[in-house]
Structures are given as structure tokens and as C-alpha cells.
Symmetry: C2
Amino acid sequence: MQDHLTAVSDQVNAHFEQILSDIADSPISGAMRYAVSGGKRVRALLVLESARLHNVDSARAIWPACAIEAMHAYSLVHDDLPCMDDDDLRRGQPTVHVKWDETTAVLVGDALQSLAFELTMHPKGAETAEARANLGFGLARAAGAQGMVLGQALDIAAETSPDQLTLNEITTLQAGKTGALIAWAATAGAVMAQADSAPLQAYAAAVGLAFQIQDDVIDVTGDSASVGKAVGKDAIAGKATFVSLLGLDEAKRRASDLVISACDALSLYGQEADTLRQLAHFVISRRT
Amino acid sequence: MQDHLTAVSDQVNAHFEQILSDIADSPISGAMRYAVSGGKRVRALLVLESARLHNVDSARAIWPACAIEAMHAYSLVHDDLPCMDDDDLRRGQPTVHVKWDETTAVLVGDALQSLAFELTMHPKGAETAEARANLGFGLARAAGAQGMVLGQALDIAAETSPDQLTLNEITTLQAGKTGALIAWAATAGAVMAQADSAPLQAYAAAVGLAFQIQDDVIDVTGDSASVGKAVGKDAIAGKATFVSLLGLDEAKRRASDLVISACDALSLYGQEADTLRQLAHFVISRRT
């Protein structure tokens, strides 16, 4: 799986290089490049693989693949801000507001969100206007006040609340914070091909939740140096997580069950979907 | 013109009320409502009038009209942040980070940007997917690192630079900061109808620049209470503005000339475009 991700990472980085070189030098162009570099590119791989399953040309699919990575990058830049999670380290590097300043971090995040839509709607991306319009509409819903931003708002509200979240509440929170973009990425290929996206939707729902459970596991079992960002923060803050509510072993078992359901959801695609199955297994075996 | 704007404002507010009531209550839903309330609704009027000129149903045009107001509202919420322009007052009311906090202001801005794209791409908006895709792509470019965010980044960079901006540099800055969204709004109706947008583009370029010159005039001649936000900040900060570079009289004369060109650009539409002509005159006569 790491080979696949490295290959996707190379493609995504090369495409970003080209896109960002078209943007004139400005006070934020360097920080934009910095913010989109690195990362595991799991979301881009989901787009490219779901596109491949539907015979969508990868030269077209690279546009929404970079779009979802730009969207993800914006969310990290804003989440790391002092008024949000206040993190100094991301992917082993200083966060944008540490390396530059808060002003730059706010603007870079804002510009990357716009860029995500620009790439999604780019005429060189999905072939039909119908598909581009559907992708754009779906991305807006996944990113906004009923998706990713809702998840982040609930997460921050939970930190200041005296009550611990229940398992249901954490699941809702994570469905927004992480799940919505993962679902968009995993279904993008079907949307591009105007095919049924239900199997990929089911796959994504299970993988997205497994992804977040594993994040909680890593927060407990990992060390900051190898993870590349602060760990153990949730336990220190006394935040309810999948691990604190279920225990480490049960959390791992649930994640593992979810990966099995995710793989089952792809039966329609046969062996063609093996990379997506490997990705599901990778999600719960990763250490960073 | 004020009657037109009041009517548009009522339409926009009613539509926002409906849209936002569909978003579940969350830690940011109240602040989102607050952020999109008020405002002159000049951009919405541009969308609705350009749609009317191209026989686009106003029930469809209200979607991109609210979209551009959501985008504008996001930009104000973020621009007012302490790390940006640090303003406590907007439209005569406390800014979002003052009434709530910075976390809420960042998230509300982020969610409103997503909402702007959601409304633009909404199937009940522009009739064809082609038009929706074109509107979405254009909005992304207008809002992002080559449009509005670029303008804001240049503006903030200018504040910390020892050099004063030249007239050309201020014109470029404002073309991004204010002009790009105004151009999108004024051409939206033509894009929805898949008609030639060149005359409206020319109108918008002139009106957008006149709008910003008038903003600089108001910053010098207005008082905070009637303007509804802090005034005189540019002069205090020693920032170059159209007024500081041209003098008050010449700035007013240029704005007035721009309004004449803006009106001329609409000759193709005859009397049908009279509301847009009145709007151009309103832009340079407004006091807030």
C-alpha cells in the first residue's frame, strides 16, 4: 500500500506544482505550497482508485484528487490555529501559523478552500458539466456547516463542555470531521462516470469511521516524533474518544470489523477493487 | 435605488432564513445567521438584475444571489479577525469574534465559504449543469488566491511594508479584494443564460473600481456612527488609498467618470438596464 500511496503522492505533488506555478507570486503563495506538501494522500488515492474502477481517465481524475487534498490541507491549517487546536507541529514540520503567522494561516486556508472548488470544477477534470456540478455541490455539502466544519465545531464545543460525549455523539462528530470528505473522495469516480455510488458510499462510511478510531488509537499508542504531530492531547484534555469509551482492545476490534465490512461492500467490483481493500487494511495498520 | 435594495434585501433574508433553517442547530448556526444578516445586498442585486436582463427566473437567480452574499459575509468575518484588520464593529453591530469568539469566527467564515459554493451549485439555481459548473468555477477563481484572497493578502502586506503602494498597485489590489466578486455577481445572469457576458463584465469592472474609490472617500468623509464600522483607519495607519494618492476631489471625479463608463457599457440592453445604471450612481453617492 505504501508503494501505491507514494506513487499517488508523486502524481499529486507534480500536479500541485503545475497548478500553483500558474498562481502569481503573492504574500501567501509560498505558504500555500508548503501547506499542500506532504500528507499520506489517502484521499487522493480514493479518488483515483474509484475513478479507475469506473474507467475514468486518470488525467481527469487527478483534478478532483488534488481538490480533496487542497480541501484537507485547508482544514488542517485552520484546525492548527491558536484559537482552534493550537498545534505547532504537523506532518513533522512547523504549522503554517508558526512558520509564518496567523494572518497568513487564515488566508492560506481560505485560498485553499477556494482552490479545492476551482480544481473540482475545472473543465479538464470530470468530462461532463453534470458530473462537475454534482462533484462541486457534493464537496460543498461535505465541507460545510453540515459536514466537516460541523464536526470541527462539535469537537471544539466538546472540549469546553463539562459533559463527556457519548459514543453516538463522537460517531456523529467524526462522520462530519473526517467522514464527509472521505465519502466524497471514495465516490468521486462513480460521480465522474455518472454511475451508482452506493457501494463506494458504504465502503467510505466504514473506512471513514475506522480511520478515526485508528487516529484515536495512534493518539494513545504513538509517540510525537514518529507521528509527526502532538499525541496524547486527548487523554491530557480528558476528552472522550473511541479509545476512552471502548477501551483500546475493543476500539481496535471495531476498527477491524469496519474494515471487513468496507471490503465486503466492494464485492461488485471483484479483484479490480483490491487496492481499495488494501487501503482499508492500511488505514487501521498505519502508525502515523 | 434604496427601494430596490430593500426589496432585494427582503428576498435574500427570506431565502437565507429558509436555507439556514435546514441546517441543524450547531455551535455555529446562530453565528452564521448573524453573519449573513444585514448588509446593503448590492452584490445580490447585481445577480438578480443581470438575471432579469437575460430572462432568467428570479426563483432560480436567488440561489446565486444568496451565494455571493454568503461569500461576501465570510470575507467580512475573516477580515475583521484580530490577526487581520482587527475590527470590533461591522454594519453597526459587534463583529462575530467580538460577539462570540475567534474560534467561532474562523469556523463561521469557513462554513459560509462552503455555503456559497453549495448555493451556487444547487440544482434549483441555474437551470443547466453547464451554467452551474461555469458559475462554480468562476466563483472559485474570483474568491481565491488570484482574486479576493489575493487582494486581502496584498492589503495586509501593504500595511507592514515601508513603501507606499502606487495607484497601479492599489488598483490591482482592489480588483482582487472587491472587484472579482462584483464582476462575478454582475455577470452571473449572463452565465446562467449562457449568453455573452462581455458588456456586464465591462460594467462590473468600472462599478467595482468606483465602489472601492467611494469606500476610500467614505473612510475620509464619514463618521463611524453612521457608517457602522470604524472609519479613518487608513489615514491613521498612513496607508495609501485612492484619496491619499489622488486627492479627494480627483478621487470623486474618477469615480464619477467610471460610473459614466459603466452605464455606457450597458447600451445593448437599453432601458431594461436602468436599475443597473441607478445602482452605479448609487455606488458613488452612498454614505455607508
